[in-house]
Amino acid sequence: MANLKVKIHNLELKNPVLTASGTFGYGEEFDDFIDVNRLGGVIVKGTTASKREGNPYPRMVETPSGMLNAVGLQNKGVDNFISDIYPRIKNYKTNIIVNVSGSTISEYVEVSEKINELQNIPAIELNISCPNVKEGGMAFGTSCQAASEVINAVRKVYKKTLIVKLSPNVTDISEIASAAEHSGADSVSLINTLLGMAIDVEKRKPVLSTITGGLSGPAIKPIAIRMVWQVAKAVKIPVIGLGGIMDTADAIEFILAGATAIQVGTANFIDPQISIKIVDGIEKYLNHHKINSIHELIGSL
């Protein structure tokens, strides 16, 4: 039996397969389809200090091998998460990771501080790369200085594993990754969505209410692989790779490029069982290639 266990700083994953924030609800939505406990971890929906209604409909449009979304961090706020959602999901036998989002440094700090108190949340993913909110969000992820400031501030209050989620909408993502590393991030995850846009040529109007949205799905996979490869060379902390993973081969591609763990995002919409199929697929791949441990694969291009 191949060894699938990986560590992201102090966080132990039984296998390298996580589900991506915003694409897997709070896990419960998938209970009918899979045993969520078999995943390496679940990254829940972006959580902010206060309740947010998100952007107006329409928020989604299909594109070639992908989709644009402009959800805009709709969520009930961190207090509601703690009082209503956390009690429901805290007993999953997998790592529940909260995606912490915000518009200001103090908002990130407030949410991180509160999540730090939750015993069964071993890590947060700091989302400094959401392209779908008017203020903050991606702005923190597109300059080294802004990224450092928010990470430094959160690092002061957050004591467990701190993953920082990077934006691909930058000239040099490895610079931002290095800045994150030096500001105290325990890991970086990439990529968030690429900023895109679609126009309805019959109505002659943008399809999304927000005009632009975030592109995800297999269309972006080649860009994501390249960025993971660049970042893995630039930093010493573990890299979590995502962007367009649809099957086991895609997941292996990210691991070969240097990812210690991977996240399955948009693919969950098309096949709600795909995350578990990838867990099984990675094990099969290792056995088939007579590789004893996933560690032999990571970055082994």
Partner: protein, 258 residues
């Protein structure tokens, strides 16, 4: 009912006219708990141009033989691709999804359908019939040729018709039909499904006349199971997901008429 994901065998494919076709799918387990108003998410395989699943209402159910029927209008790449399926082939479905129409009261309900919006209404009409609930049906279409499944509805109840070219029934939109324009509408509830402008016009009339009104929305969806928050409709209680809190809504909860 637990949600399922399964490959369902197409046991019959029938083209109704150049725009509409009917699929009968065989389900390998009991479907007794499926309710009118619910829908399915269909994977369009081998299609170069579709990426996400496509949602369709459950049009008819044969509980005994475990058959789900879909009534599909060809409007774009996904539905065109699905129209090429043949019986004997399999479609991958996630089902059943969404809430359902609310329980019938003892008064009389008017079901109003336009375009592909008639799809969930046949299942509902059969359900009402079984429960001996009183209802009539009002169907609208551009012209007689676009009116499908009329015979099936007629077997179940009185059917009013409005066509834009007067080829059948009254001339005009459903909202111009005398059954809605007369001073005293003999219904205590209206259930409507069709193009959004139609549903909004119906909602206006119903609200005006203080008649309870439910609509079934067709917001674009990515996941269908409440995971992506893409399908939201603005309600008086904030943005809610059409795929789990809907697709059926009472118009009094929506922000349409404000």
């Amino acid at each position: 009912m637990k949600k399922h994901i399964n490959n369902l065998k197409i046991i019959s494919y029938r083209s109704l006219n150049k725009d509409f076709f009917l699929l009968e799918l065989s389900v390998p387990h009991s479907i007794n708990e499926i309710r009118p108003g619910q829908f399915v998410e269909v994977l369009v395989e081998n299609s170069a141009k579709t990426f996400l699943r496509r949602p369709f209402s459950i049009h008819d159910i044969d509980y005994e033989n475990q058959i789900i029927s879909l009534l599909i209008q060809i409007v774009g790449k996904g539905t065109r691709e699905l129209s090429k399926q043949k019986s004997g082939e399999y479609l991958n479905l996630i089902y059943p999804l969404g809430n359902s129409f609310s329980k019938p009261t003892n008064e009389k309900t008017l079901l109003i359908g336009g375009g592909a919006g008639i799809a969930p209404l046949l299942f509902l009409a059969k359900h009402f019939k079984r429960l001996h609930h009183k209802f009539s049906v009002l169907l609208g279409a551009r012209s007689e040729n676009y009116l499908v499944r009329l015979k099936e509805f007629k077997k179940l109840s009185e059917v009013f018709i409005a066509t834009e070219d007067a080829s059948l029934g009254e001339k005009g939109l459903v909202t111009n039909h005398s059954v809605l324009t007369q001073a005293e509408i003999g219904f205590d509830k209206i259930i409507s499904c069709g193009p959004k402008p139609m549903m909004k016009a119906v909602a206006m009339i119903a609200t005006d006349k203080a008649i309870d009104c439910e609509v079934s929305l067709e917001n674009t969806m990515a996941c269908g199971i409440g995971a992506c928050l893409c399908c939201v409709e603005e309600t008086k209680h904030g943005n809610v997901c059409v795929c789990i809190d809907g697709p059926v809504f009472n118009v009094k909860d929506l922000k349409w008429l404000i």
